[in-house]
């Protein structure tokens, strides 16, 4: 395998938090799939906004409002360009992926009726299951599950069989948060479209690793959260095809989303404002743009290649530990290792690792159906980012060995 040109030691200097100590040990941060760390450039963007041009956007005639509006709309265009989206008004700012999914699920209540079917993959995050359950309860539509195999891959033959003219919607994540599986989205989208169904892809876990091209993927909706890709919490984006966004009813009423209001009737604003009621997270939106600039400055190909090296390195080293089993062995995988050691509860391992300054996630990762599938209470999940190092992986492996000795 060729080594990448990514200079991880200089990149790490951009992230002040990585210099911290935890429990007297240097922080090893392997909980990137939950939230990524924030580079100084993004932190500065937030500070700069509040120090220089904090103002409410879109309606102000004054200078600061104009400046803030420009910066916010500029961020929208950065998102548009990053995901190769046809029109900037197809980018809706949301509070994150969960908010975006709820926006679509809520709107689809008008299009789905009794007898229709909604397909959801077996490896979804709870935030991508519950809204559809609510939709199905409300409309009488039926929720069907696309099964997965022991490797943590979707069974595509079953998916194709589940599709029919009854299928109105298909929901699937691009990358599974619990297993790291990269799903074959293009195939899923094309097959759904062939029966006239729309597809929403949860891209929250994919976006930090893969630069998805909306015009190639052709999904009808795609959602991302800024905080998983070096941006701040509380902001994300929904991409929706213009025709769908025009059809969907507004999600929330309020300022920004109206064109004209009388007591008799309200006319809704054009896209994207129809879905952006109230004052948005202005600093967060602008910082999201800065985060995309930062990651693109490093380059997604470099990031993907480097993270793949980390993943392989960690997988090989962890697999050598006696009794350790990795969950999620898909051929296409993002930099996530979910594992257990026979006879040890994942919380116990997580607790010992925490004492060693290593941050991992333990539990069901908001994907209980996956844990039920493997009949386990949860896993230990280490998720890597481009600012992690092989030396840190060595510390994780040593920590897991130490935990094993203590706990068995």
């Amino acid at each position: 395998m060729t080594e990448t040109f990514l200079d991880v030691h200089s990149i790490r200097k951009d992230f002040p938090i990585l210099a911290r100590e935890v429990n007297g040990k240097p922080l090893v941060y392997f909980d990137n799939a939950a939230t990524s760390q924030t580079p100084q450039q993004v932190i500065d963007t937030i500070g700069h906004y509040y120090q220089n041009y904090n103002a409410n956007i879109h309606r102000g005639v004054h200078f600061l409002s104009q400046e803030a509006t420009n910066a916010y709309e500029q961020a929208r265009i950065k998102i548009q360009k990053h995901f190769n989206i046809r029109e900037s008004h197809e980018v809706i700012f949301t509070s994150g992926t969960t908010d975006a999914i709820n926006l679509v699920a809520n709107g689809f209540g008008s299009f789905v009726k009794k007898g229709d079917q909604v397909l959801v993959s077996a490896m979804e995050h709870h935030s991508n299951i519950v809204p559809w359950q609510i939709l199905c309860e409300r409309t009488g539509a039926e929720l069907k599950v696309i099964p997965m195999n022991q490797n943590g891959e979707l069974v595509m033959e079953d998916y194709h069989e589940l599709l029919s003219e009854k299928t109105k919607l298909v929901f699937c994540n691009h990358v599974s948060n619990a297993l790291g599986t990269i799903n074959p989205i293009k195939e899923i989208v094309d097959a759904a479209h062939a029966v006239g169904a729309a597809v929403l892809v949860d891209g929250a876990q994919a976006a930090p690793h893969i630069k998805a091209d909306m015009q190639v993927l052709d999904a009808d909706f795609y959602t991302v959260s800024a905080h998983k890709m070096c941006g701040p919490t509380g902001v994300g984006a929904l991409y929706g095809k213009e025709e769908w966004l025009n059809k969907l009813p507004p999600y929330q009423g309020g300022g920004e989303m109206i064109a004209e209001v009388t007591f008799e009737k309200t006319t809704y604003a054009d896209l994207p404002h129809k879905f952006e009621a109230g004052t948005p997270n202005i600093a967060g939106g602008i910082a999201f743009g800065a985060a995309l600039d930062y990651m693109n400055g490093i380059g997604f190909e470099n990031i993907a290649q480097y993270e793949e090296e980390l993943l392989q390195y960690a997988t090989v080293a962890l697999t050598k530990i006696e009794g350790l089993k990795i969950y999620g062995e898909a051929s296409q995988k993002a930099a996530v290792v979910s594992f257990n050691i026979r006879g040890i509860h994942p919380y116990d391992i997580g607790t010992i690792l925490d004492k060693l300054g290593i941050a991992v996630r333990t539990g069901h990762h908001c994907a209980q159906p996956i844990m039920d599938f493997y009949q386990i209470p949860g896993t230990v999940r280490a998720s890597f980012s481009f600012y992690n190092t092989k030396e840190e992986v060595d510390l994780l492996v040593e920590g897991v060995k130490r935990a094993r000795t203590m706990l068995l």
Partner: protein, 140 residues
Amino acid sequence: MSIQDIQDGIVDEFSLFDDWMEKYEHMIALGKSLPLIADAFKTDDNIIKGCQSKVWVHAELNDDKLIFTADSDAIITKGIIAILIRAFSNQKPQDIIDANTDFIDEIGLKEHLSPTRANGLLSMVKQLKLYAIAYQTQLN
């Protein structure tokens, strides 16, 4: 021995350990010595909510004293519940109700536990006290 005496004993015992490793190793050893709950009582009703690992607790009255048994699927959690049971089991319900729980802070258990575990710890203490209140009502 009174609850206070037992708690003081636990605090003394933990003060012997210099670092967290030894403290955790001791907790794990205590976990292995936990008076286990009978399988018949390992029901969903006996699971303590608020713990991220599963914890079952059962209480029964023996003469005028309350006896606790428990189990957990995580060994460190088992250690914590073992410490609590040592302090509160085989005591009169009213004494359990009246007992303070400062010893948890004093042995540095709370500060050494993640917030999710600390919440679970508080849920466990609350559950033991709730059992005591229930049995005290019965005794009255």
